[in-house]
Amino acid sequence: MTLNRRSFIGTGLVLGAALSAPPLIGQARPRVVIVGGGAGGATAARYIAKDSQGAIDVTLIEPTRTYYTCFFSNLYIGGFRDLASIGHSYGTLAAQYGINVVHDWAVGVDRDGRTVTTAGGHVFPYDKLIVAPGIDFVEGSVPGWDISAQNRMPHSWKAGSQTQLLKAQVEGMRQGGLFCMVAPPDPFRCPPGPYERISMVAHVLRERNPTAKILIVDPKQSFSKQALFEEGWQKHYPGMIQRIGPDFGGNNVSVNPETMEVDIDGQVEKVDVCNVIPAQKAGRIAELAGLTGETGFCPIVPATMQSRMDEDIHVLGDATIAGDMPKSGFSANSHAKVAAMQVRAALTGSTAFPARYSNTCWSLIDTDDGVKVGASYAPTDEMIAKVDGFVSQTGEPADLRKLTYEESLGWYSGIVADMFG
């Protein structure tokens, strides 16, 4: 390709205008390729296919055949869900929506040639590309830990076998043993997630191993829904959970997976189970495609979810810098709908309505004790900014907490139907 980027964008605009005319008989359909079939990618694929009614050729590239949702994976650890109930196949997207589901890894993006290459050696041309690869871990962020140690010290921050492993380790822990979590620094996927996980681990230990202890080492001064979690831990699991924040060395932690030791600011603790959740960055393919900035995440145009680096690419979900929006499945799903609408508008001339975003995150503290936090957001020129929000209150009556939990079950069914059809 000899065109430089600028002249190429110019041509792209002309092309876009031509494409908004009704497609000519025999003319190839515009092509959208989506990398990553999670909360962002699957939703985008389904909405583009559904709403364009066959006018757009949609290819979804996703290596796993069964997507295990991270959301509710903590509930699986706690024994509230079984593994099958959080696994979802791409069958309906292929069968009912005509999406070409390719189980393969994207390994390269040629932005000038507008193609994606997969590990299997296939090349997929696109008119619009959507990149939604979730997160990867920042190497070296927890000294002593790397991906080769993930069996001894699981992260379980991508759901599936890792979640099964952690659950088995918690259940098999020696009586009176010590469970340790190395919590991640901001920004990371699912701000209340580590603390919901602590609640679920405590729930299991209270039943099976009541003399066990839980230690959280945390580089953050404060965390999401902190007052609610701390109240709940006090109430349901008194004396079991201790958290070491940055003032006491929670920000200076290294691990030794061989000896199962955790060094907290020079003080070495021997632990029985260790859940290391490293610092995070956008999924590696985003970096390879040149879509990430200094923070390791992808800057986007708030009104459209287009990459700031390339207007033919939209980035969704955890991989983005989404302003005030937390990295959640709900947020990724919300991003996807805006991007789907923008992509359709660009390729078929359908109407693009103004973007609106929202998020709600539910967490379970103990049986029937659910809490939630949420907000609505709108794009400004610089960022996606919070408009309004709410959070559960401490001291709420038990029946309201139960209702909140039941609501989360309804939400789960709703969002997976919204993603996978």
Binding site: K337, M341, S358, F390, L403, E407, G410, I415, A417, D418
Partner: protein, 238 residues
């Protein structure tokens, strides 16, 4: 006539012994006329010292009561949910409920079409109020003054929603509410009569219906957007 006429004219509210900002309260309505309207209700509801559960729950002490809290009464799922969300019977929530029961509680079992005339409602409420604790007796009871709620104008109700816009906006709803109408944990919002949908959303917007998520979601929808959503969800094909 049952009970005394509601005596409030201009009542200075005294909160916890110390004088607070004076709230002017006006009489709710004419309880005597309300007693006549009560005839429509008395087929199903009892009121007074001997009142018991019949087809509907007894309505003594209804003011200030959390919805769906009469023991042993088989409430609808919707009413139970509203009660747990925090719906409490006040002048404003009762008024909205009597005007159109389903606007406030979508799946209520009360088979009553609603009283359109605000004066008739006021009179009925004045009658019901006589069977609840009164601020003249209990200083800290909820004021009888009517909050001046912005009510829906006919113009707002007459807006014809843009279904295509509604379809786009609906994607924000379907993260939680299922398009196929299942309602485990999260209520169904499909196939509602459009007017009911519009009124329900405005009830959230005006914070008459409880539930913080819905108050937030509805809070940022314009009148046109609410109409568009009503048009879309009301006309989905199953």
């Amino acid at each position: 006539m049952r009970g005394a006429l509601f005596p409030v004219l201009a009542l200075a509210l005294i909160g916890a012994g110390q004088a607070q900002a004076q709230t002017r309260a006006t009489a709710i309505g004419d309880a005597e006329r309300g007693a006549e309207i009560w005839m429509f209700c008395s087929g199903c509801h009892q009121i007074g010292p001997e009142a018991e559960i019949s087809i509907g729950p007894p309505l003594n002490g209804i003011f200030g009561r959390r919805a769906a809290t009469v023991a042993d009464f088989p409430y609808s799922r919707s009413m139970t949910r509203m009660g747990r969300d925090g719906l409490t019977w006040t002048l404003d929530t009762l008024d909205a409920y009597i005007e159109n029961p389903r606007v406030l509680v979508s799946g209520t079992r009360m088979s009553f079409d609603g009283l359109e005339d605000p004066r008739e409602r006021a009179d009925l409420l004045a009658f019901l109020r006589d069977f609840s604790d009164r601020p003249s007796n209990i200083p800290e009871a909820a004021p009888t003054a009517r909050a001046d709620l912005p009510r829906l104008s006919e113009d707002t109700l007459a807006i014809v929603g843009d279904r295509a816009y509604g379809e786009y906006l609906s994607s924000e709803c379907t993260t939680c509410h299922q398009r196929d109408g299942s309602d485990q944990g999260i209520p169904s919002i499909v196939f509602w009569p459009q007017r009911d949908f519009v009124l329900a959303m405005h009830a959230y917007k005006q914070k008459l219906r409880p539930h913080p998520v819905m108050q937030m979601m509805a809070g940022r929808l314009s009148d046109e957007e609410i109409a568009a959503l009503a048009a879309y969800f009301g006309t989905l094909t199953p």
